[in-house]
């Protein structure tokens, strides 16, 4: 079983930058850290599952 974050929009800090990458920090319910990274120029949509309609977190 995987733990579910009850409030996935809860963010520990505001977005940070690392070169061309933006990161946002989250905390899972069991206390483990989760960081989401996004790239400004990820234009091609690679990695986007069509079933999501290209939505991004």
């Amino acid at each position: 079983m995987q733990e579910r974050v009850q409030d996935p929009e809860r963010r520990v800090q505001d977005p940070e930058r690392c070169g061309p990458v933006t990161l946002t920090r989250h905390r899972k319910d069991d206390g483990r850290a989760l960081i989401l990274y996004s790239h400004d120029e990820d234009r091609t949509g690679a990695g986007v599952d069509p079933s999501t309609g290209g939505a991004r977190a």
Binding site: R4, K28, L34, L36, Y37, S38, V48, T52, A55
Partner: protein, 313 residues
């Protein structure tokens, strides 16, 4: 054995190296059904996963089944994409470059921790090397000690009178027979003393102790080189090519300025295949004596890899 704590280190006096005990890993997720992949995004109405968002680009999180954890190191999972299929080779150029920055960020952040002496970024690909999840991803271990391979690299610096990867790169370029491709900033070659048939090293031309010292264009070209090599690997036998990929950098113990000569960014690939359907096993000599016995010559496998890389281009 009396200490049954979750994670523990024991020093093997006979071999002079640490052994990590993480007995909870015996129960880690093992090749789940496609619809139960824990590295997929969590979609509305779908199963709960490690990433509670309907989509993402790159995600990093603490391993649920860590080999190391604070205050005795770190273990993280790096998910390259929210798409279940694909590989490092199939990421867009931009995503692959972003991954280099993610690696850089994790090296910096984990390396700043007092309980992390060495940050090792790696990827296991294929069931042949023990992969338990097929979703494109890698891992990062923050070791609370200097592991033996890094100790040997530091010893090589001493033996060669300077940065060993710099010297070995110079030799490979002078010889040229095993070079796979050359970029302005990055070179790939099968090393002179390759242990694995299709072992390859991807090396920064300039001396860079860690990804923190790399210029943006170097990170970009490193991403291109890694993808070029993996695409060539996949073309070699026309199948997804299993490997262990490890990013080698300076240790993170002590002040950064003191580590400037204790590393040189390069990425080593250890593929277990020696033919399309035969694996190299670590058997008597490799395990009992620590001496690899290879069935192939690096010069020959370099020719085959160059041709495969050309086919994949």
């Amino acid at each position: 054995m009396s200490d049954r704590s979750k994670i523990g280190l024991r020093f093997d006096e006979l071999r002079g190296e640490q052994v990590v005990y993480a007995i909870h890993r015996q129960d880690r997720t093992f090749l789940p059904a496609r619809e139960l992949c824990p590295l997929d995004p969590t979609r509305p109405g779908g199963p709960e996963t490690e990433i509670p968002f309907p989509a993402f680009q790159i995600a990093v999180f603490d391993n649920r089944f860590p080999a190391f954890e604070s205050p005795g190191g770190a273990a993280e999972v790096v998910v390259y994409t929210d798409c279940h299929t694909g590989s490092l080779a199939t990421l867009s150029d931009e995503r692959a470059e972003a991954l280099m920055w993610v690696w850089r960020h994790r090296y910096e952040e984990l390396g700043a921790r007092p309980d992390v002496d060495y940050v090792m970024i790696f990827e296991n690909r294929g069931v042949e090397v023990g992969v338990t999840l097929h979703h494109p991803h890698g891992q990062i271990y923050g070791y609370p000690f200097i592991p033996p391979v890094l100790e040997r690299e530091l010893a090589a610096d001493e033996r060669l009178g300077g940065c060993a990867p710099c010297e070995l790169l110079r030799r490979e370029l002078a010889d040229g027979e095993r070079v796979l491709f050359e970029g302005e900033r990055v070179v790939a070659y099968v090393p002179y003393a390759a242990r694995w048939a299709y072992e390859a090293h991807v090396v920064l031309r300039e001396h860079r102790a860690s990804l923190l010292d790399c210029e943006p264009l170097e990170l970009r070209e490193l991403a291109v080189a890694l993808q070029t090599l993996v695409r060539g690997y996949d073309a070699l036998f026309e199948r997804p090519f299993p490997y262990v990929m490890v990013v080698h950098q300076a240790p993170t113990i002590g002040p950064r300025h003191a580590r400037a000569h204790d590393g040189h960014v390069h990425v080593e690939f250890y593929p277990p295949l020696r033919t399309a359907d035969k694996l190299k096993f670590l058997a008597g000599s490799e395990q009992g004596a620590g001496t690899f016995i290879s069935d192939t010559l690096p010069e020959d496998t370099a020719i085959a890899l160059r041709e495969a890389i050309a086919r994949a281009a």
